[in-house]
Symmetry: C2
Subunit: 125 residues, 2 copies
């Protein structure tokens, strides 16, 4: 096992050129604790279905633009700097309501898996 692994996605504003405007990190970095997607989507984009999760909590971090997350049929407005945690069993979708690019990061990790964090998990060395 190596102590680190790095990948290069390039400029965040150019991720919109990727297939589906999405870069997934799990496989590229051999992650064992979470899956992360970096998303950049154009005006008018909407995930065309609702989904929920079996095990994983999701955290959406909005980097640019504004949108609407529909969570259990509630319209939740989001914009740059909004961060939303979604419970596994909630139905969700997301759309871009900006006139321009909408960028967000989505982290998924197993609900209730975190045992400690911050100073309790860190050691100076």
């Amino acid at each position: 096992m190596t102590n680190y692994k790095k990948t290069e996605l390039g400029k965040i504003d150019e991720l919109i050129n990727l297939e589906n405007g999405k870069a997934f990190l799990h496989d590229a970095l051999e992650l064992t604790s979470c899956e992360i997607s970096i998303n950049a989507v154009p005006k008018g984009f909407k995930v065309p279905f609702n989904h929920k999760h079996k095990q994983n909590e999701e955290v959406y971090i909005i980097l640019k633009g504004k949108g609407i997350m529909t969570i259990d049929n509630e319209a939740v407005k989001v914009k740059e700097g909004s961060v939303v945690k979604v419970a596994p069993e909630a139905s969700r979708t997301i759309e871009n309501t900006s006139d321009n690019e909408f960028q967000f990061i989505c982290v998924q990790a197993k609900v209730n898996s975190l045992e400690q964090y911050g100073l309790k998990d860190a050691e100076l060395c």
Copy 2:
């Protein structure tokens, strides 16, 4: 348990005005799967110590600027779009080598806790 929780951080470029240039999300969102920090630090910033983790894998996502992560004494150059996974036991620190602001997100979650992800964990609904 609510199905979602939201917080507002404001403009990403203005996070540099926070104490230590850091916003933590665990407590604000009652996360149960990970801790996430959003970081915006000025020219010359360097975390003044090395640290490692007991349980948690970390993922650093660089949003703006460039820097150096020192991982087990190896200098790893990073810039916008670099993403680095660091194993719990690795010694690490990070510095801004840009002439301007350096922005990054750090996700920590328990190593080997992810059981499934992507289509295996998702269900249409």
